[in-house]
């Protein structure tokens, strides 16, 4: 059962892609079924081209670029079929490739940057042969070299993932009713009493809380006392909150219904989703303390069947046309600067491409998921327990 996005952020993505996917899934399925390529493999030429094959995809709906004309046309021209399975939370990717049913079945998936080291420790992704993804050379330098690249996607001597879309999570607000908040603490003021929402997005909430308290670290290593402080920050905010918002999809509905004037953790894409429902006054702002960031990338799971067709598919996804179309459909940011001129201005201005390095290195760095932590630090399970108690 869908909870209209019972899961944070991703729900919007699913909803955004739903309409497009509905229109495109039929032909894609037919194409997949009628693909003349055998399942045993596909012939790959240099430059990521392929002659037939099937992509077995397991990740977020929309990330398979089913309906984007660039990739769809490429699939048709190359007789590439696609079978997609969709997740509701990122954890379903973890579950699929650790508890069975995923390895040896799917040849294309994604992971959010912070999960990278954890996934590699679980043996989920395979090391990528980057000579088969030449289009990746077109992405912004920050996504293909340097400390951020080496931290989340390229380590232990291999590249495990190709980041292809990202986004920011700060505060969403109603421009018709309030001025843009400049700080998270502003929402604790008496004027916001009973007018704001706190989104049930544990990772983003911890990152924002850490930013607001000045204790953020990208490794997400926090002492229990620091976790208590972060929860204390949200408890203060909760005093002014009208509700805990179960999903970003629900957040758009609440803005449209006039139930809230601001909400955090936010997401840039909520503006567009609210606009689609007739409310053009929802905007997104990154407060002075910083924001939470996500960045999803393609991986080829270990033991993937027919990996060459997955390579070719990934390569095509980094073409400027595919990137621009993906940004329009998913309302997320691109990694290929050549895609910017191909996007409409509304989508282009959603994200600060001109300050990319500043945003991703200092204002809103990517953060780790603390699955395994040294003694004395709070693990993700500790976060969950603290957050559950906060919501109770």
């Amino acid at each position: 059962m869908s909870l209209d996005g019972s899961f944070p952020r991703r729900d919007f993505l699913r909803r955004a892609a739903m309409i497009a996917a509905t229109a495109g899934v039929g032909p894609a399925f037919v194409a997949a079924c009628s693909s003349t390529a055998s399942k045993s493999g596909s012939a790959v030429a240099s430059g990521g081209k392929v002659k037939g094959g099937t992509v077995n995809f397991w990740s977020w709906q929309g990330y398979d670029l089913l309906t984007e004309p660039a990739v769809k046309g490429w699939r048709t021209a190359n007789h590439v079929g696609i079978h997609s399975g969709y997740v509701g939370t990122h954890d379903e990717i973890t579950a699929k490739f650790t508890t069975g049913g995923g390895k040896g079945v799917y040849n294309l998936s994604t992971y959010e940057a912070g999960y990278g080291p954890f996934y590699v420790s679980l043996g989920i992704p395979s090391a990528l042969d980057m000579s088969k993804i030449p289009n990746f050379a077109q992405v912004y330098p920050i996504f293909r070299s340097g400390p951020i690249f080496n931290r989340w996607w390229h380590f232990n001597g291999h590249q495990w993932c190709c980041p292809f879309t990202w986004g920011l999570q700060g505060i969403n607000y109603d421009t018709a009713r309030i001025k843009a908040p400049t700080s998270y603490t502003e929402l604790m003021g008496p004027t916001f009493k009973g007018k704001i929402g706190v989104t049930d997005d544990i990772v983003a909430a911890f990152v924002i809380g850490a930013h607001a308290l000045g204790i953020f670290n990208a490794s997400s290593l926090y002492r229990p006392s620091q976790v208590s402080k972060i929860i204390g920050f949200w408890t203060q905010l909760k005093k002014n909150a009208r509700l805990i918002i179960p999903s970003y999809g629900n957040m758009a509905d609440l803005f449209v219904a006039g139930e809230i004037v601001a909400a955090t953790p936010g997401w840039s894409a909520v503006n567009t989703f609210a606009a689609q429902k007739g409310d053009h006054h929802v905007s997104h702002v990154i407060p002075s303390e910083g924001a939470a960031t996500f960045c999803d990338g393609f991986m080829i799971p270990s033991q993937a069947p027919d990996p060459d067709v997955a390579y070719a598919y990934i390569n095509e996804a980094f073409s400027p046309e595919a990137q621009a179309q993906e940004a329009e459909a998913l309302v997320q940011a691109v990694v290929n600067p050549q895609a910017l001129p191909l996007m409409n201005s509304a989508t282009r201005t959603l994200y600060p491409y001109d300050q990319l390095d500043t945003v991703l290195t200092s204002r809103a760095p990517l953060e780790a998921i603390p699955v395994k932590v040294p003694s004395g630090y709070a693990s993700f399970a500790d976060w969950e327990n603290a957050w559950t108690a906060f919501k109770a």
């Binding site: 805990i244 006039g258 109770a392």
Partner: protein, 310 residues
């Protein structure tokens, strides 16, 4: 002589031997058994494969150690159950869930009686139409029914608009939505049609003469209800109570959408353990604790079926 030897009387039609008859009965019995197996077998296989085996697997997992995401070490331990019943956050959430579930069950069951009574004993015609109207609300999506409360109880909802226009209040009332009462109202809205059907079904077998006899003998309406109607419909009442309590206590969508600052329910905690944290043993232990509570409540309710009236 011939007759003596064969044991047959000449001129009389010979009776069939008992052996072929027994064989026929055996064949018929075998056919019946095969038919029963063919009819019931798939359901049993499905139950065993899809319910009992996974449940047994979970039961085993609930008493072993988690050693990482989705990983377990088969060392016997009760620590998962200890965590399930001693973690403060879980307990608060569980008490909230059981409290609202119990309240929803009582309200739905109590509210069903007058409606079911009216349908069964007052309506001369249109009984089926009335039952159809009761279940008509179930034709819409569960989520649509939940979101409908936004348009009724929200800031710009029907109720607030009416109160402001009538001058009863100057500002919209914020407390109408996003709290436990809103969750309770939604639960009653969702489960009431089911409980009406259950109570109505229990009332169908009651002769109206019994109720009239009680009145003729001087029983007040309240006494007629408590001594005649309630005992005779107790099976339906127990079913309605158990059904509403279990489903509403286990629900987490309604509290998440309408619960405001207290929308966390047990289902979400279990889901987080399995999916987000990969801690199958703790998730399984919480599930079995929930199951135990539901079983205790169910068996306690079945004792009510012996109720003979006040």
């Amino acid at each position: 002589m011939q007759a003596l030897q064969t044991g047959k009387t000449p001129g009389l039609r010979s009776r069939p031997s008992s052996r072929p008859r027994a064989a026929g009965r055996l064949r018929a019995r075998t056919r019946r058994r095969l038919a029963i197996i063919a009819l019931v077998g798939p359901a049993i296989v499905l139950l065993l494969g899809a319910l009992f085996v996974p449940a047994l697997n979970l039961l085993v997992k609930s008493v072993v150690e988690s050693t990482g995401y989705g990983q377990v070490a088969y060392h016997f331990t009760f620590s998962n159950y200890v965590s399930a019943v001693s973690t403060p956050g879980y307990l608060t959430v569980a008490f909230n869930a059981f409290g609202i579930g119990a309240l929803a069950a009582v309200i739905c069951t109590a509210a069903s009686y007058p409606i079911a009574y009216f349908i069964n004993f007052r309506l001369r015609r249109g009984k089926n139409l009335a039952l159809f109207l009761v279940v008509a609300s179930l034709f819409s999506s569960y989520l649509v029914r939940l979101y409908a409360w936004y348009t009724i109880l929200g800031i710009h909802g029907v109720l607030n608009d009416a109160l402001v226009r009538l001058g009863v209040v100057k500002q919209p009332l914020l407390f109408l939505l996003f709290n436990r009462w809103a969750v309770l109202i939604a639960f009653v809205n969702i489960f009431l049609p089911y409980t009406i059907l259950m109570i109505s079904s229990a009332m169908q077998n009651i002769q109206k003469d019994l109720l009239e006899a009680a009145r003729v003998l001087g029983a007040s309406p309240l006494r007629t209800f408590s001594r005649v109607l309630l005992p005779l419909t107790m099976t339906g009442a127990v079913g309605a109570l158990a059904y509403t309590f279990i489903l509403s206590s286990g629900d987490y969508i309604t509290p998440a959408l309408l619960g405001g600052l207290n929308g966390e329910f047990v289902g979400q905690i279990v889901s987080n353990q399995f999916i987000a944290l990969g801690d199958v043993p703790l998730g399984a232990a919480i599930s079995f604790v929930m199951l135990a509570v539901f079983l205790v409540v169910y068996f306690a309710l079945t004792r009510l079926e012996r109720f003979k009236g006040i």
